[in-house]
């Protein structure tokens, strides 16, 4: 991997390189919107068909844990943004600190989601295809809710894991002094990605947890 401060061959100048890199990330995020969008659409349609079952499923989720996770992610977006700022200002130690904090918060989210919530649902017998024990009225529609719950949060968690990988790479690069106020674009576009993953959760949380007819 070439030095981050070098101008890549295909570009005429650093400005073109930065612009292309940022624009490329925005285009990629557009594809991600469509990717999650398909899933959201299917979820909303089924929710419309089977409202009571989906509301029941929603009530089975732990709002407080979800809220805690939301707070974790929002904080991680804050630390990420602060990290980008630090990179802009050329403050290496601060940059690494914020990146590490973001990483830890991201790991915390994944831990809570998988280790706490998923594990709980699995043990309670609400894991479709793997451990589903509920056979009361309308159980198939409830199972459908949990299908979407696991798939939506699973795809989101996968994106978090990828984000964790990206952050790790950034931390190593930052540690080696690869970034400067003239060349911090990788941090910036990774920040865009991280914020996007956060925003997806901001949609997921209400759709899955909050509109369960409990309020």
């Amino acid at each position: 991997m070439h030095s981050s401060t070098a101008l890549a061959e295909q570009f005429d100048d650093l400005e073109q390189q930065h612009e292309s890199s940022s624009f490329g990330m925005w285009v990629f995020l557009a594809t991600e919107v469509m990717f999650f969008g398909g899933l959201f659409t299917a979820y909303i349609i089924y929710r419309n068909f089977y409202l009571s079952a989906f509301e029941a499923g929603s009530r089975l989720l732990d709002v407080k844990v979800g809220a805690a996770n939301t707070a974790v992610l929002l904080c991680s977006s804050l630390t990420m943004a602060l990290g980008v700022r630090a990179a802009q200002l050329g403050k290496k130690k601060l940059l690494v600190t914020f990146l590490v904090l973001t990483l830890l918060l991201g790991l915390a989210f994944i831990g809570i989601k998988l280790g706490l919530e998923w594990r709980h649902d699995y043990l309670e017998g609400f894991a479709p295809g793997v451990n589903w024990t509920f056979h009361g009225p309308d159980w198939r529609h409830l199972e459908l809710f949990f299908c979407f719950y696991f798939f939506l949060t699973g795809v989101h968690a996968l994106h978090m894991v990828i984000g964790v990988g990206i952050l790790t790479t950034l931390i190593i690069m930052a540690g080696r002094g690869r970034f400067s106020p003239q060349r911090y674009n990788p941090v910036e576009v990774s920040g865009l990605y991280w914020h996007f993953v956060d925003i997806v959760w901001i949609f997921l949380y209400p759709l899955l947890y909050l509109i369960g007819g409990r309020y």
């Binding site: 089977y50 009571s52 009225p137 309308d138 529609h141």
Partner: protein, 349 residues
């Protein structure tokens, strides 16, 4: 062998000619423009061919009036075609009031066609000529499609829901029908013939074949055997008299129409919609009734509605094996009728 090259199937239904006319129009448009483009290309490419290395082109940037013309004209043709096609389609989609309903169940890889009077056919459909026929269809497994080229109709046959088409055959004969939605290994052999008969021949065929009972009375038997009567005959569950086609108020305040889909859902997923004023007590019958049995129950419930009786092409008569008669509204007597000998008899049309 070569008596004439067929370009269209037989015109054997009331809508066939209309569809064919629209098709001819489209064919004319297509061939006209294809020929126009090919000939223009031919002409221009030859007239302006490069005769030598010195042949120069004359640059022509564009021509706004021409652009407008060749946008507006296609737009106009499209508008005409769209309006023609949609109005024909809307008309062709609405079955006449007095259509005879026949029920179709598709499964890998055969068709079961159930006449309301009782006869069930496999891969064959006898119908009378010049009577509107409505097919109400569902699948037991994957998506199929019932397609009669000579009638110019087809519709996907979807598991979990009812779809329907209608036709009125205009001439007697045998007409192919096909499964037209790929459904697995034997998709290509999942078809048969629609046999259109004169009304008299059809009556003869119908009565000749009845050994069993009408769908409605089979449904009446099921109503009893599956213990529906224990709730719906005692006031614990909503009554069925005049239910079909009516507006039903639900516990969540919404109102729905009690159509085929509603009744099927109520049998298989009873907790999906609870009628206002009743408790969610009904167990599901999923896995305990086949699609045909659901259709029989449907026929029975329809027969309890004055407007909703599925009209067969001859007066309903019941085989002597059925008890009773003239019990009017069937099972709605207070206090319930639990004894098995008391099979509720649907009122005749």
């Amino acid at each position: 062998m070569w008596q004439g090259f067929p370009i269209r199937p037989d015109q054997a239904s009331t809508i066939a000619r209309g569809v064919d006319h629209l098709y001819y129009f489209l064919t004319a448009v297509d061939l006209f423009f294809t020929a126009l483009i090919f000939l223009t290309i031919f002409y221009l490419a030859i007239k302006y061919r490069r005769r030598s290395a010195e042949t120069k082109a004359t640059q022509v940037e564009g021509n706004l009036p021409l652009e407008v013309i060749w946008t507006i004209i296609p737009l106009g043709i499209c508008a005409v075609t769209f309006l023609w096609g949609s109005s024909l389609f809307i008309r062709n989609s609405r079955p006449p009031e007095a259509a005879t309903e026949i029920f179709v169940v598709g499964k890998q890889w055969m068709w079961k066609l159930q006449h309301p009077e009782g006869p069930m056919e496999i891969n064959e459909l006898h119908v009378p000529v010049r009577r509107p026929i409505k097919l109400t269809m569902t699948s037991e497994d994957v998506i199929h499609n019932f397609y009669v080229p000579a009638f110019r109709v087809q519709k996907d046959v979807v598991p979990g829901m009812y779809t329907s088409i209608w036709f009125e055959a205009t001439s007697t004969g045998r007409y192919h029908f096909f499964c037209n939605q790929y459904c697995g290994t034997n998709h290509a052999v999942m078809g048969g013939y629609v046999i259109v008969m004169s009304p008299d021949d059809y009556e003869q065929w119908l009565s000749g074949g009845i050994r069993g009972e009408s769908m409605a009375s089979a449904g009446a038997k099921l109503y009893e055997q599956l213990a529906c009567i224990t709730c719906h005959g005692t006031g614990k569950g909503p009554p069925f008299v005049n239910l079909f086609g009516s507006q039903v108020k639900l516990t969540d305040g919404t109102t729905v129409t009690a159509d085929e889909a509603y009744i099927r859902e109520s049998i298989l997923y009873p907790s999906a919609k609870i009628v206002a004023g009743y408790q969610p007590l009904m167990p599901t019958y999923k896995g305990q009734v086949t699609e045909e049995q659901i259709l029989q129950l449907l026929a029975y419930i329809k027969s309890l509605s004055s407007g909703g009786v599925s009209q067969s092409s001859k007066p309903t008569s019941y085989p002597p094996s059925l008890e009773g008669g003239g019990q009017g509204a069937g099972n709605q007597n207070a206090g319930g009728q639990q004894s098995p000998a008391n099979v509720p008899v649907p009122p005749g049309p």
